[in-house]
Amino acid sequence: MERLRATFNRLRRSRRAVLIPFVMGGDPDLATTASLLLALQDAGADVIEVGIPFSDPLADGPTIQAASARALRRGATPSRVLEAIASVQAQLRVPIVCLSYWNPIMQFGSDGSPRSFLQAAHAHGVSGLIVPDVPVEEGRVLQDAAAQERIATIFLAAPTSPPNRLRAIARASQGFVYYVSVTGTTGARHALPDDLVRGIRQLKRMTTKPVCVGFGIATPAQAATVARIADGVIVGSALVQTIAAASSRDDAVQRASRFVKRLRSAVG
């Protein structure tokens, strides 16, 4: 949590937008995930979001669904993804935020509470956690357990969220607030929605916490547009697609690195 806060503070002082690329843990395999984390850090990522694969990723479009399925087929589990993060922890300066659906977190311990997962996440160097199928209304258990391990909980705000919900989401989120740019699932889009600027501004008026925007941001140009109004930009599916299109592990790391460099120079 501290590392996440420090990152945002530093970038806020330098008036730069935070760039947050997303990779699916274990896609194409766990060793590549570890290499990707270091390569993306070198390419200019400020925070890296790592997905824990799940059999039923409800909030995800076809690209991340496929990545999740590939990772599971290759034997990725929540603990193995955490181990992959820990394996490069010594060289990582950027904070890692994990994204996981609720069920794998619940099943991590033997008592159905998220505590074991959060302890392990903390021990393996994770700074924050996004759980897309835990709405803020049901977030208490998660927040309490995360607070004990000093892991930031980040909730999702949608364009359809009414003002009182947006406020609750902003209040409950730590590190940053995740604004979902589209009504829908993750996935690259040709164009950003027309009401995006209004939505981000509305949320920013309600909170002093950084607002990062994700879902559907695919190109450096789109990332640049969003970076002008938001505090950070999250790019997932487009990067996952780049990795999936690679011919080898090395190629995947190189392509991902090139893509994040382009995003970096666009975001500023």
């Binding site: 039923d56 409800l58 909030a59 099943q107 159905g112 919900r165």
Partner: protein
């Protein structure tokens, strides 16, 4: 979440609104064919040693299953909320057909998500939905069955939520769905309770119903929940065997988990990945189950058992021959368990079994199965 809150508010209002209740009642009577008979199955009763077996004939409803009770209710609710598009997931196609039917009746646009594998095994229902004007969208992700059709319907809903109502087909999914669907289905038990009191002047000893997500079972059980002497038994799909991945017996074999926005029991592996399921009946082929069933199991109000494919198939044939009723493969699981249970009941025990749907949709599956077990010479055996 905003949409769930909207639905919860709209339903709370509709529930108390006499005009809503009247319109629903009229549609259930005039359009769907309620009340359904509680039929005393004399020859089946004789075959089971004199226990008195009653069948709650939801198979006689318009569209051929209990699903229409719920889709009519949700359809009226969607209209009140000003939605003009309705989407649904479907496994066996019965809920899809019931949703497409109500969409046609109320003038909604309709899209039904169905696993690619289910579209093949329930091809007839795909045609029915299309004839009713619905778009049927194949789901190719994951297991290509009900679980993934539900995921895809939810994904579509979050994308189109401003104009669209998601008409979920069972007592699963996020609140308020399990409650809402239960309420719309509980007409089954309310009728059955009156009917059995009239026929036998007493309450039944046992209620039996099949459980996939669990809507017809909750619908039957709910009116009897405070009649502590009435045994409630839910019968799940045992598939080909009770080993992981080969059945859909969530209450028998599952552990607590979260899927599709509900905490209930779940068929999952050690690390929380949801397992594939297998069942001869597409309608029971779901790794989760309604949270209220999990609660009934936990509080020991109801018992849950599993029956395998072969026994269900045999029970379907038995009912067809004894009573001239071809049941769907889903309630055939309950019929199969009845055959096992009956000898253990006292001689004049009264049993009410929820016959949730008719078997027309399953004729192709039955033909394939029976042909393959009798060397391609079905005539004598079927």
């Amino acid at each position: 979440m905003a949409a769930l809150h909207e639905l919860e508010r709209a339903y709370a209002k509709a529930r108390r609104d006499p005009a809503f209740q009247r319109e629903l009642r009229e549609l259930l009577t005039q359009y769907a064919g309620r009340p359904t008979p509680l039929y005393y199955a004399k020859r089946l009763s004789q075959a089971l040693g004199g226990r008195r077996i009653y069948l709650k004939r939801e198979d006689l409803l318009h569209t051929g299953a209990h699903k229409i009770n719920n889709t009519l209710g949700q359809g009226l609710l969607a209209r009140r909320m000003g939605k003009h598009r309705i989407i649904a997931e479907t496994g066996a196609g019965q809920h899809g057909v019931a949703t497409a039917t109500v969409a046609a009746l109320l003038g909604f646009e309709c899209e039904v998500f169905m696993g690619e594998e289910d579209m093949q095994r329930q091809a007839l229902n795909v045609v029915r939905m299309r004839l009713l004007g619905a778009r049927v969208t194949p789901v190719t992700g994951g297991t290509k069955t009900l679980k993934d059709a539900t995921s895809e319907a939810i994904r579509n809903w979050v994308t189109t939520v401003r104009t669209t109502h998601y008409c979920i087909g069972s007592v699963v999914g996020p609140h308020p769905y399990p409650m809402l669907v239960r309420d719309f289905q509980s007409v089954i038990g309310r009728e059955a309770r009156q009917q059995i009191l009239k026929a036998e002047h007493r309450l039944p000893d046992v209620l039996l119903a099949c459980v996939g997500g669990g809507s017809n079972a909750i619908g039957l059980f709910h009116a009897f929940r405070d009649d502590r002497r009435v045994r409630l038994i839910g019968v799940e799909a045992g598939g080909t065997s009770l080993t992981p991945g080969h059945h859909a017996a969530t209450l028998v074999k599952g552990r607590p988990g979260v899927l599709h926005g509900a905490k209930s029991l779940l068929l999952q592996d050690r690390v929380g990945q949801v397992l594939a399921t297998e069942s001869i009946s597409a309608g029971l082929d779901y790794p989760g189950v309604g949270p209220e069933h999990a609660y009934y199991q936990l509080t020991k109000r109801a018992e849950y058992v599993a029956v395998d494919d072969t026994r269900a198939l045999r029970a379907a044939q038995q009912l067809a021959r004894l009573e001239g009723i071809l049941p769907a493969l889903e309630p055939s699981h309950a019929l199969a368990y009845l055959a096992r249970l009956a000898p253990r009941l006292r001689r004049h025990a009264v049993v009410v079994l929820g016959l949730s749907g008719r078997g027309d949709k399953d004729v192709q599956t039955m033909a394939q199965r029976l042909m393959s077990t009798s060397n391609g010479t079905p005539a004598r055996h079927i």
